[in-house]
């Protein structure tokens, strides 16, 4: 996006518990919570800021592949269910694979910048535990170029895709040190999750996480270059947030010191039909980060806090390099050190599932 023509803010961030394997209360043999119960919970959470819901001008909802997971499309229809004052107001649904949540924020921001709204309600959810992983893999493979890639992809499609990236990284920069860095990422992710009662890994009580994270991959049991600790879990959950202009802040009685300002959003779309030129580089992320810094007029040295979408530990390592905090091949070292940036440190998000992640990632700024 270009530099914002007016200031944008975020308030009222809320997330439900991210439910799935790892949580003590998760029992796939019993009926699970329905998606609409998650939606209602997150809406109530955001509205608990005290904002008058009648002030909300538009709604945006994001979910990846809900028509296949839960046979539910036409998601904009659920925004007025979540916030009744959105009845007869513009409501949009968004999809963008792992980037769905972030894209929902982007669409909301566009509406505010186009003067179509002063306050937008942005939400996202996923229900993915309703099918066995072996079938879920087929559904999630839709985030790739299904017609061309599914046939020869691994049975667990995306672990296979990122296993290839990890394998290329091991070959280029060394297996042992790469595994150490990825294990350290796993360890710190779970240690962070243990501080968040809503995190899927909150109940993870494994004693030696770093040792577990270094267990070697076994192609006979899983993908060639990754283990279970390198992969995010499948989750059910929802998150939501308000986007506001300055006028929106005034109307909603929000104080600037209680909200966060969004200084840039960079959305960069690659051609899905093209194969990565270099499996050890997240080139699209590099472009997006560059644009975000340019739009905001800042550099990485100005960052105080970093949330990375780590669907796989190798993704986190590559993202650190793409952002520019480490040169190529060195991201794992930074990861194994825990990461230091001026004025703060990496806050690693243990994977909580795809979509609501984009919104959930904003929440730590509120102290969530």
């Amino acid at each position: 996006m270009k530099k914002f023509r007016k200031k944008l803010y975020a308030a009222g961030g809320f997330t439900t518990t991210f439910m799935g394997s790892g949580r003590k209360e998760f029992d796939p043999s019993k009926p699970q919570r329905t998606f609409d119960s998650y939606l209602k919970e997150t809406a109530e959470g955001t509205l608990s800021t005290g904002i008058d819901p009648n002030l909300i001008d538009i709604g945006v909802i994001g979910s990846f592949m809900s028509p296949r997971f839960i046979n539910q499309a036409n998601l904009p229809g659920f925004l007025p269910m979540m916030i009744p004052s959105l009845r007869y107001r513009p409501c949009y649904a968004v999809e963008g694979a792992c980037g769905t949540g972030g894209r929902a924020i982007g669409v909301g921001a566009l509406a505010l910048l186009a003067d179509q709204a002063e306050i937008a309600f942005i939400s996202a959810f996923e229900i993915q535990n309703c099918v066995k992983a072996v079938y879920g893999a087929d559904i999630l493979a839709g985030a790739g170029y299904y017609a061309k890639e599914r046939k020869h992809g691994h049975s667990f499609f995306f672990p296979g895709v990122f296993s290839d990236r990890a394998g290329a990284y091991y070959q280029k920069y060394g297996f042992e040190r790469a595994r150490k860095g990825m294990a350290k990422w796993y360890e710190q992710s779970v240690l962070n999750a243990r501080k968040n009662p809503k995190a899927q890994e909150y109940h993870n009580a494994i004693q030696d996480l770093f040792e577990k994270g270094q267990l070697p991959p076994d192609p006979k049991k899983f993908v060639p270059h990754l283990t279970g600790t390198d992969c995010s879990r499948v989750s059910d959950g929802a998150a939501s947030i308000l986007l506001l202009t300055e006028e929106g802040l005034r109307k909603g009685n929000f104080k600037k010191e209680d909200v966060i300002e969004i200084v840039a959003i960079a959305e960069v779309q690659e051609d899905i039909s093209l194969l990565p030129e270099d499996l050890t580089v997240l080139s699209t992320t590099e472009r997006a980060v560059k644009e975000a810094f340019e739009t905001a007029g800042i550099s990485k040295e100005d960052l105080g806090w970093l949330e990375i979408h780590d669907c796989f530990s190798i993704t986190a390592v590559l993202a650190i390099e793409a952002i520019g905090f480490a040169s190529r091949g060195e991201g794992l070292i930074l990861s194994s050190k825990g990461g230091q940036v001026p004025q703060g440190s990496f806050r690693q998000t243990y994977p909580v599932g795809f979509v609501a992640l984009g919104i959930r990632q904003v929440l730590p700024a509120f102290g969530c």
Binding site: V134, D138, A141, R150, K151, H154, S155
Partner: protein, 445 residues
């Protein structure tokens, strides 16, 4: 195609709808499907056929559902392998496509029937009918009249001497004991019982087949009970004997519960000896005892107390889905919850005085926890030596029972049923999930 694969093109399972027959059917069907897929790249072409036969229509219907369900689970667990097999089939893209293709294709290999005539072309015939000499012999006679190809027979008998069955069935030289453990799809062990004068080719084929089914073979001599039941039944008889002695000083139900807890907790087993009787089924145990009594010289094979339980209605055994039925005990989630009282014909809460067992040895862990010990061998030695040093009622009974169990094992070797204590140990560990065998160096205590 090698000889085993050629024979696998025409297989029959008789008694396929029973508890053991269904598991045997599943194993064979999975292996045949693997062979067909690897040889032809397709399934259900008609080249390979397995006839699944049971006289009960209801059992055949149940078998169909059982096989479909388990084949689906198998395909889900082996999805990557199946994707590799079908990598050149452009029509099979998603995991769901492949799983469905596997299940439907494999089911096409199976033919379901209630008549023995379906097996008239079979090269291999697996028999898993009722444990009755005359019934089995009659089956063999009928098969020989229908099938003129001199098929090989594999019997799942757990106790009847194979040479007796072969002679009665007039199939000497073509019958081998191929004894699966319950449930066949899960248990790793096959007891292979080869009667004298078996052609080496047949024995070799049988061993190859067991390996292909991913089973561990233990050879047993052709003596009634073989190794597994030879040990189990003798332990059961000893347990009933000890219970009868103990019931002179306490209620019978307490004596039974006591010995069940001794054998489960203090001998570190997955279930106590009487829970195991329930698991096998009281009538099945009684029947095995009568078979062993018929063929073995000594007169120890008698269990009047077991007979009383059966007369009063305690059955045990399992439902088709594996749920434990009431027997000596009634169960909640697989654990004994109350015990059958012969006088009242009701179930009463289990009553075992904690003083008989506490304190447990400091090195004690239950069966599940003990099997996770990194140095299991030394943990077991430490535990048993500590058990021996204790003086509780439970520990004294446990040491006595364990030493008797070791003596049973040694007699099985001396009597020529087992080649070695190691073989007995293998059967106990693989077939009964014991954590140790009689060859543990600190035994007998």
């Amino acid at each position: 195609m090698n000889e085993l694969d050629r024979n696998l093109t025409k297989v029959a399972v008789i008694g396929a709808g029973g508890k053991m027959g269904s598991g045997i059917s599943l194993l064979l069907l999975q292996e045949i499907s693997r062979v067909e897929l690897s040889k032809t790249g397709a399934l259900g072409t008609g080249v390979f056929l397995i006839h699944l036969i049971d006289q009960s229509e209801k059992s055949i219907n149940g078998l169909y559902q059982y096989l479909k369900g388990h084949l689906k689970k198998y395909a889900e667990q082996h999805i990557q392998e199946l994707r590799d097999y079908w990598k050149n089939n452009p029509l099979l893209i998603s995991n769901a496509d492949i799983i469905e293709a596997y299940v439907e294709g494999t089911m096409r290999i199976a033919r379901f029937s209630t008549t023995y005539a379906s097996a008239k072309e079979a090269s291999f015939i697996f028999e898993a009918i009722v444990e009755d000499i005359n019934a089995k012999a009659a089956l063999f006679h009928e098969m020989e009249a229908l099938n003129t190809h001199s098929p090989f027979y594999f019997t799942n008998t757990s106790s009847i001497p194979i040479h007796v069955l072969a002679e009665k069935g007039n199939i000497t030289g073509r019958l081998i004991g191929f004894h699966f453990y319950n449930p066949p799809a899960v248990q790793k062990l096959v007891e292979l019982i080869s009667p004298g004068h078996l052609p080496p080719d047949f024995l070799n084929l049988s061993e190859s087949l067991a390996h292909r089914l991913n089973k561990t073979i233990v050879h047993s001599k052709d003596i009634a009970g073989f190794i597994g039941n030879g040990h189990f039944i003798r332990e059961v008889l000893y347990a009933f004997k000890k219970v009868e002695e103990l019931s002179k000083e306490m209620a019978l139900e307490s004596a039974i519960s006591f010995y069940d807890q001794v054998t489960r907790d203090l001998l570190l087993r997955p279930m106590g000896i009487f829970q195991l009787v329930d698991y096998v089924g009281l009538e099945v145990v009684k029947h095995i005892i009568s078979v062993m009594k018929e063929f073995l010289p000594d007169n120890q094979f008698s269990a009047p107390l077991l007979n009383k339980f059966i007369e009063k209605g305690a059955k045990g055994g399992q439902l088709f889905d594996g749920t434990q039925k009431k027997g000596i005990f009634s169960y909640i989630q697989g654990r004994p919850e109350s015990i059958f009282v012969l006088e009242s014909l009701n179930y009463s809460p289990i009553n075992v005085d904690k003083k008989w067992f506490e304190p447990y040895p400091s090195s004690w862990k239950n069966w599940k926890s003990m099997q996770r010990e990194k140095d299991l061998h030394n943990s077991l030695k430490t535990y048993f030596l500590e058990l021996k040093s204790q003086n509780t009622k439970g520990s004294v009974a446990a040491v006595d029972f364990l030493n008797h169990s070791v003596a049973i094992s040694k007699n099985l070797v001396e009597d020529g049923v087992a080649s070695s204590l190691k073989d007995v140990s293998s059967v106990l560990k693989l077939g009964f999930f014991h954590l140790y065998g009689p060859d543990l160096e600190c035994l007998p205590l």
